[in-house]
Amino acid sequence: MTGANSFSVSGYGPERAGWSRVFARDSLARRLDWPILLSALALSFIGAALVYSATRNRTELNQGDPYYFLLRHLLNTGIGFALMVGTVWLGHRTLRTAVPILYGISVFLILLVLTPLGATINGAHAWIVLGGGFSLQPSEFVKVTIILGMAMLLAARVDAGDKPYPDHRTVLQSLGLAAVPIVIVLLMPDLGSVMVMVVIVLGVLLASGASNRWVFGLIGTGAMGAIAVWQLGLLDEYQINRFAAFANPDLDPAGVGYNTNQARIAIGSGGLTGTGLFKGSQTTGQFVPEQQTDFVFTVAGEELGFVGAGLILVLLGIVLWRACRIARETTELYGTIVAAGIIAWFAFQSFENIGMTLGIMPVAGLPLPFVSYGGSSMFAVWVAVGLLQSIRVQRPMSA
């Protein structure tokens, strides 16, 4: 330990310059997980370029302003960044006390979607239109509150040192807590979000150290639930068609299979280095629907090629890899569970989103974290980054 550092710990040293204070060994800046932060920022800015490329010609969407989506994406990124800063500033432990309120608000919001205030966009009844071109997708926030809520319940006894693992009662409670919003989202129906939430629950349970029975039980229930949903015909036709198109990509290339087919053509035609930003014919020609949101990865695939699309994979990988380290290194189970929930969320959502553009997953309306255009999603993932940072920043102090 150098003298300067010990001064800062003691608090009796002379005032140091702000710059060096920021980079002092024990400073907040030093303790932040920079790889995650920089990767998330890079993804957001790459996303901005891709969103711009995908929307500058879509006059029917951008109201004649080619920068409409670009500016909003940057604004969303800024707000997301601010939310992250706020989250780090508050700290995940402070937030822990607010979890019941946040949970309540988010459940209230998804309930609102079921009322006439909710709106259907792209087949998913998952939106609340706020007016002025803004709309809210509360299921994105529910993902955060489920993680926080379950972590709070599951870690309470363990972090208190009462038990090595959460007991069945606690697990049941936490499952109940997750089930309420999941059922509501299922009613919307927003199947993609439900799938993400189920995976989150799985990740949370795994990281909580809950009994294997719960984990396998959940997987089994999920499988049976899926079969039941299929058998009982609870799916809408468009959802069945998506699966059919996934099973047989050549099926009706002009209809159901169109999205995936065009997406694959776009990505495949990119080759190693792509056609160059703004030069993709698939993108310029608007052959891929929803290209600024769910299919944003196709823009990268076509215009930036294997190099650019691979970079997005690598950046997402860095975020997840570092998140795994955070989950492993934090001493409190609460932080571990939150981090694991976020990992499960990001990992599955990224895999599903990119996988569907590559034709290895059925189509589901899920945004690509950081990259896709969409305020609610952007805010939620940046809050998640904030939580990860907070867990990391506060790790030494928990010792």
Binding site: G161, Q262, S281, G285, A309, R328, S350, G355
Partner: protein, 766 residues
């Protein structure tokens, strides 16, 4: 604070976290692998698919060039018509095979649904007409006479008419300026076949599926030049088909115009006169067969003597080439090609071959001179010539005593040539031929270009035949089996001939040589060969390749490439012999010549006329009428199958053609203002950069009006002009004067007014 160790982790949680990490890693590994698979391994394939996605090809068919006459009058050009067509492939995709769509379409077009459906069904052995006999992948034209309103209805409601298109298309039009139909020379177009598309795929002029290809005549000969090059514009389009950029485009290159040496006016005269001569021949009684002449087919060629360019070429029977436009109907096709059609598609000027009869005699004359016989020698023109037991008679058994070769030409004495040919045959060894026979008569025929193609720029020319020793040998080899089987020593005439042929058909017999010397027997020539020969005699001996095409002029008129006259040989005669033959042929139309009775009043001093008549006998048929003529400028050859004698059937017609060319009336007075083409057209028509052509109006040939004006000139107003042409034979005059129109006009009004009126009539646009 806690009893859990500071590392904070139970092993279970730590292990599960590692599992999660591995899971995440494998998920991303999967994505990376799949990305590599799509972009690197299969990238090219997808890139191709992507470009197929956004690149729409718009094919603009090149406008086919026009075929123009020597003055620029279009003989074949294009007009825009609204063509409604149906795509069979699209219709067959529908559940009811497109029945509903076609029924709806029939309603719009005002046709019967049945008719429409029959048009799009494919022809096969069991399908009666009408049906489509083109490629099933090609849009099938339902009508090319849609109105703008109908087309609009179809296009506006395109969702109601899947697979139906209504588009303006340039449709070939054979304009027949001044009623000159020129059918066989122009040829026709029909849709390109799959084979042709495949064959031409990698050449510099590939076909489009919608292309029409020249099938005969000039359309075929100059197909490549006329067709031009289709333009292909490749647009990048978005998912809604909106154009977002232009990828690459090859401009359409409109086809070039082919300027021919045909003069539409002369062509019309030739066609009219040929038809007229044939009609009149059918009124003439044939003593030999005991019925009127059939005159079943005929041809006439007007050729520039100094270049070999064809000014007019007519073949009869003829047809309307517009029948092919927009797909020929089966009925029309049968009419044109069926067994009872008499094959009007044949261009008999180049594809009709027959024994030439006496017009051949210039060949043995030259041969005799080359063999050492003096032109001015004395040769016995007896009424018949006997070899062994066989007697070869002179025409109508006339004898003229000892005459020169020139006189033998003038009076068309056969026996002179029989004798010479027989002598030469004997010199060559007779029935035991020498190793290297001189064969003067055959060699000379080959040197005249007979038995070979003239090289005219029209497809499917036939070569005729010189029945020389080589041919006899080959022919015998090919047929002896049949002859020997059929032949019977004591059978019918045909069986006896076959028997004889079986035994010695490979040998040149005395009779063969003798028959050949007057253009009979197995000798076959085409009218174009004879026109070429007589043109060569006129021009001093150069055998030009006959040409119809005179120049290829690009659509904008900028690039002009003239098709220069090309010679394929020289007549085997000295200048002296040529002059002597020339003089003898002039004698044919004067004095005691065989055609003199047809050329009374001809201004021989101003426009020296040379001619040779021919009446060829054909076994089992009536005689073929031949008439070969030339002046300094032109050579005109006419033939009528089963038409009678050369001068009788063809004489007046040929004279009328000359009169029209030179502006002569029956009395031999020349009016250059009326002359269609006193000297061959030298200059080429001018084509403007915008493609328009300064073509003069073409007046219709009206032999009656011409008659009226002729009479008007010769007879003062109010006088009846009978007997003003005393030099003409009565029979001829009667034919000419019998025309009711001329007489009626004459009677009703004073000649001066008739003149003016007819002039005005003839100026009327056609």
């Amino acid at each position: 604070m806690t009893n859990i160790p500071e590392t904070g982790r139970t092993p279970r949680v730590q292990i599960r976290l590692v599992i999660i990490q591995i899971l995440v890693l494998s998920l991303f590994g999967t994505l990376g692998g799949r990305l590599w698979y799509l972009q690197i391994r299969n990238g090219e394939e997808y890139a191709k698919e992507a470009s197929g996605n956004h690149v729409q090809q718009v094919v603009q068919p090149a406008v086919r060039g026009s075929i123009l006459d020597a003055r620029g009058v279009p003989l074949a050009d294009n007009e825009t018509r609204l063509v409604v067509s149906a795509s069979r492939t699209e219709l067959m995709k529908m559940k009811d095979d497109g029945k509903a769509v076609l029924t709806k379409l029939a309603g719009v077009l005002g046709m019967k649904p049945r008719d429409v459906m029959e048009k799009v069904r494919l022809c096969d052995a069991e399908t009666p007409q009408p049906c489509w006999n083109g490629s099933p992948y090609q849009p099938i034209p339902i009508t090319d006479e849609a109105t703008a309103k109908q087309a609009l209805q179809i296009r506006e409601r395109s969702e109601d008419f899947p697979g139906i298109t209504a588009e303006p298309q340039a449709v070939r039009r054979y304009a027949s300026p001044g009623d000159a139909n020129t059918a066989q020379v122009l040829g026709y177009l029909s849709p390109v076949t799959d084979d042709e598309i495949n064959k031409a795929k990698d050449t510099d002029s590939p076909y489009l599926r919608s292309d029409q290809v020249g099938r005969s005549g000039l359309e075929r000969e100059y197909d490549k030049q006329l067709r031009g090059k289709a333009g292909v514009t490749r647009y990048e389009v978005d998912n809604l088909g909106r154009v977002i950029g232009q990828a690459k485009s090859d401009e359409a290159q409109p086809g070039a115009n082919v300027v021919t040496s045909i003069d539409a006016r002369v062509q019309r005269v030739a066609e009219y006169e040929l038809n007229d001569a044939m009609k009149k021949a059918r009124d003439v009684f044939d003593k030999n067969t005991g019925r009127n002449y059939k005159a079943d087919s005929g041809a006439v060629i007007v050729m520039e003597a100094k270049t070999g360019r064809v000014v007019a070429m007519a073949s009869n029977p003829t047809y309307d080439p517009n029948a092919w436009v927009g797909g020929i109907s089966a009925k029309d096709y049968k009419k044109l090609t069926g067994k009872n059609s008499n094959y009007p598609l044949l261009n008999r000027a180049i594809q009709g071959q027959a024994a030439p009869g006496s017009i051949f005699k210039v060949v043995p004359t030259a041969a005799a001179v080359n063999a050492g016989y003096a032109f001015d020698g004395r040769y016995d023109c007896s009424s018949s010539y006997a070899i062994g037991g066989q007697v070869f008679k002179n025409f109508e058994s006339k004898g003229y005593g000892p005459i020169s070769l020139g006189q033998a030409l003038e009076v068309s004495c056969d026996t002179v040539f029989y004798r010479l040919a027989h002598e030469e045959w004997l010199k060559d060894g007779g029935n035991k031929p020498r190793k290297k026979p001189k064969d003067w008569f055959y060699k000379t025929a080959h040197q005249f270009g007979l038995g070979a193609l003239t090289g005219i720029d029209l497809p499917n020319e036939v070569s005729g035949r010189v029945p020389d020793r080589q041919w006899k040998q080959a022919y015998w080899k090919a047929n002896k089996d049949a002859w020997c089987k059929y032949g019977d020593k004591d059978g019918s005439y045909a069986e006896r001939i076959a028997y004889e042929n079986c035994l010695e058909g490979n040998r040149m017999r005395a009779g063969d040589s003798v028959n050949y010397s007057i253009g009979q027997g197995d000798t076959l020539v085409t009218p174009i060969q004879m026109a070429t020969i007589y043109a060569a005699i006129s021009n001093g001996g150069t055998l030009y390749d006959p040409t119809v095409g005179k120049a290829i002029i690009s659509a904008d008129g900028r690039s002009v490439s003239e098709i220069k006259p090309k010679a394929h040989g020289k007549l085997p005669m000295t200048k002296k012999t040529r002059d002597e033959i020339d003089q003898a042929l002039a004698g044919v139309v004067t004095g005691g010549g065989t055609a003199a009775w047809r050329f009374g009043g001809w201004p021989q001093d101003k426009i020296p006329m040379h001619a040779k008549t021919g009446t060829a006998e054909v076994y089992g048929k009536q005689t073929t009428s031949w008439f070969a003529t030339y002046t300094k400028e032109y050579s005109v050859v006419m033939t009528i199958s089963q038409g009678g004698t050369g001068s009788g059937a063809s004489g007046p017609a040929v004279r009328n053609i000359y009169e029209a060319l030179y502006g002569l009336n029956d009395q031999g007075e020349q009016d250059l203002k009326k002359a269609l083409l006193p000297t061959p057209q030298k200059s080429l028509p001018k084509i403007q950069p915008d493609g328009s052509i300064d073509a003069p109006k073409t007046e219709k040939y009206d032999p009656k009006a011409q008659q009226a004006t002729e009479e008007d000139q010769t007879a003062p107003a109010g006088q009846l002009p009978t007997g003003t042409a005393p030099s003409r034979s009565p029979e001829n005059r009667n034919t000419r004067r019998r025309s009711p129109g001329g007489r009626a006009t004459r009677k009703r009004s004073p000649g001066g007014r008739v003149h003016r009126r007819t002039t005005r009539q003839r100026r009327m646009p056609t």
